[in-house]
């Protein structure tokens, strides 16, 4: 691949990860958000694949496979099963959509301003894209705190997780493969645990908003 087209395809894939995070902030149906999350997993896998091909790193190409399998297929399927029967929507987010989008713009600016040191240090052109990863991270946090339904909080957590993975790919071309496997396994198990908890909550107490959980406080 020529250098120019490699850079632009990589930038496009990284951009897609960010766009998916913005879309997750904007959509209110569970199905839509889960679809967006799957698309983000695909884009993330593409980033890893491109980087892997570029530096001829087979471990990173293998990682790309793991990422796509896990984040674009397995986890979205699990999430869909949690959301499953109910066509639940986020009807009362703590922050409404227009305000969320304004916040997203502000968070992106913040991401660009805090990551100068990191960009300076990364030797490859991929380093210039690191601020996009941090913007995705902050958007994930925003989803996490602005939504009330368990499924949406899980999506927020996964956005944070994808953002961290994206940053890791961009600045280091991935941590060693063994560690990557351990991390992926932990993430998967974490999602399974959350799923079981969410379905227990629903089985015992019906469709809950998390802010209804206020039994424990001082």
């Amino acid at each position: 691949m020529r250098a120019g087209s490699y850079d632009s395809v990589l930038a496009l894939a990284v951009g897609a990860v960010l766009v998916c995070a913005v879309a997750a902030l904007w959509l209110s149906s569970v199905r839509g958000v889960v679809r967006v999350l799957a698309a983000q997993g695909l884009a993330l896998g593409l980033v890893a694949l491109l980087l892997g091909l570029h530096v001829h790193d087979t471990a990173l190409v293998a990682t790309a496979g793991v990422v796509v399998g896990l984040k674009a297929v397995v986890i979205p399927t699990l999430l869909r099963r949690v959301a499953g029967e109910t066509h639940s929507r986020e009807t009362r987010p703590l922050v409404n959509v227009p305000a969320s989008l304004v916040a997203a713009a502000a968070l992106s600016l913040l991401a660009f301003s805090t990551t100068r040191d990191v960009v300076r240090l990364v030797p490859t052109g991929a380093g210039k894209l690191v601020p996009v990863g941090f913007a995705t991270l902050l958007l994930g946090f925003f989803v996490l705190v602005a939504r009330r339904k368990p499924v949406f909080q899980m999506v927020g957590l996964l956005l944070v997780d994808n953002a961290v993975a994206l940053i890791a790919f961009l600045i280091t071309a991935g941590v060693p493969f063994l560690i990557e496997l351990g991390v992926s396994l932990d993430v998967l198990l974490g999602v399974v645990v959350l799923m079981v908890l969410a379905s227990r909550l629903r089985a015992d107490y019906g469709e809950v908003d998390l802010d209804a959980l206020q039994e424990l406080r001082d």
Partner: protein
């Protein structure tokens, strides 16, 4: 080989419970294995002190004096917790609050919990360290929610959500430190290796290490229960079954804390002590303020113990901020003393909850007169917790304060002492209300039982008394530990 064997002991324990299902003989076998685990940890510590660090699993595991010390703490608290856990589950089964299947699940998860903590402290590689700490969150979530009440489910949801975010930040911080290491010339395959990081630290880029270390302290600090991300802790520790609270409060918090200690060594070498110190002092004072103010108005004795853990984690962070070898040795001694004391207190609080039927401080009266053994253990535990001699917490708090004065953090130490006085008054007040007084109807509990039938058997008091005696013994004669503490302090503060 030794290290893998040490990790395998709780794995075997879990397998035994899984295959044999929950029965007293099976559960006691697992307790025996935990005893073997503790003995193995002590043997490892002796070996590390006498003949240097031990490597294992092709360089992925490594026991330096710090890891060896932490395996001893884990081993001790694990033995206490699983010993009392047998009685806890037997009682729950007798009351029909759990089934044999769920008790089996509980036993497997507790052993897995112990194994993941051992993995985290024995990791030679900061990536494996991360995997271990994250795995502790996953296995403990179900333990927190074990009772399946609304409160327990709420607590476990908050726990995994907040801790997962924290641990994601810690991963990001780890990746940034990795970047700084690669940039400083460490080959990629070794740039997560703890020793390589320490060696390369002086050449690392300041900006990236600063951001990375801040993320790591915030991230792992979430698992430690340091303010501002401590809010999951009182819920999780009060809702979990008592033996699980003992493990979480007694040792899981400090396992996450050793991760901060390890990265602090790297940050100190890369940035100099000022930045890590400022960060840790801020979080320490914030934690002390939160804990002491909320302890005053506390109405629930398990939450009281949980807030006291936040207080002690704040003290540890302040000691770590001082950073000189004396401070680190005191921090480690405090980790052991707090682990023993807090687990004894949580375990006896579970016993109190079982016989009194309430976790409200106001619901428990004249415990000392009605149940002398249980009340006595709980009362002595509280005295140890607020730092009275002869218990080791007194010694370690004194040494930490002295170190803080030596490095010019006297003002912070003075503030900490102020917070400790508030905690002392609050805890002593709550304890006095629960323990002292004259029973309305001598010898009868609120359920009308005479208390005779629920008198603690020796098998239940032995581990509790043993924990307190151990805590007093290391407070009076620290000598068997001194070489280990000195060596471990040198790991953190070379």
């Amino acid at each position: 080989m030794v290290l893998v064997a040490l990790l395998l002991v709780p794995v075997i324990g879990g397998a035994v419970i899984g295959l044999g299902r929950w029965r007293p003989v099976v559960a006691w076998t697992a307790v025996g294995l935990n005893g073997v685990g503790l003995a193995g940890a002590v043997a490892l510590a002796v070996r590390v002190v006498s003949s240097g660090p031990v490597d294992g699993a092709g360089g992925l595991l490594r026991a330096d004096p710090l890891s060896a010390f932490m395996t001893v703490v884990i081993g001790a608290v694990a033995l206490l917790s699983s010993w009392v856990g047998v009685r806890w589950n037997t009682e729950e089964l007798a009351r029909g609050r759990t089934t044999a299947g769920r008790a089996t699940g509980y036993g497997i998860l507790v052993q897995a919990f112990i194994a993941t903590m051992l993995l985290a402290v024995l990791a030679a590689n900061v990536g494996i360290l991360w995997v271990g700490v994250e795995a502790t969150t996953i296995v403990t979530t179900f333990l927190v929610g074990h009772r399946r009440t609304r409160g327990a489910l709420e607590a476990s949801w908050k726990y995994i959500m907040i801790c997962s975010v924290g641990i994601a930040l810690a991963f990001l911080g780890t990746v940034l430190v990795y970047l700084a290491a690669v940039h400083a010339g460490v080959p990629g395959g070794h740039a997560l290796d703890w020793r390589a990081l320490v060696a390369a630290a002086p050449r690392m880029d300041h900006g990236v290490v600063r951001l990375g270390f801040a993320l790591i302290v915030l991230g792992y600090g979430t698992k430690v229960g340091l303010a501002p991300s401590h809010s999951w802790l009182p819920d999780a520790h009060s809702q979990a079954p008592a033996p699980v609270s003992a493990l979480m409060s007694g040792v899981l918090l400090t396992v996450a804390f050793t991760a901060i200690l390890r990265f602090k060594t790297v940050a100190d070498a890369a940035l100099g002590p000022a930045f890590p110190r400022a960060l840790l002092v801020t979080m320490a004072l914030l934690s002390l303020a939160v804990a002491s103010s909320l302890l005053i108005t506390q109405r629930d004795y398990k939450r009281m113990l949980a807030y006291s853990s936040i207080e002690h984690m704040g003290l540890l962070a302040l000691g770590a901020a001082a950073g000189i070898p004396l401070a680190i040795a005191a921090v480690l001694l405090h980790i052991l003393g707090h682990g023993l004391t807090k687990s004894v207190l949580f375990l006896s609080s579970g016993e109190i909850l079982a016989v009194e039927g309430t976790s409200e401080i106001a619901g428990v009266r004249a415990l000392l007169a009605r149940r002398p053994a249980l009340g006595g253990i709980f009362g002595v535990g509280l005295l140890a917790l607020v730092g009275l001699p002869p218990f080791s917490l007194f010694t370690s708090e004194l040494l930490m304060a002295r170190a803080e004065f030596q490095v010019g953090l006297g003002w912070a130490a003075a503030l900490a002492v102020g917070a400790m006085v508030v905690v002392f008054v609050a805890v002593a007040g709550h304890g006095r209300r629960m323990l002292l007084g004259v029973p309305d109807n001598p010898g009868a509990g609120p359920d009308g039982s005479t208390g005779e039938g629920t008198r603690l058997p020796v098998s239940a008091t032995a581990p509790l008394v043993g924990g307190l005696v151990a805590c007093a013994a290391i407070g009076v004669l620290a000598w068997p530990l001194a070489p280990l503490l000195r060596a471990a302090a040198r790991v953190v503060s070379p």
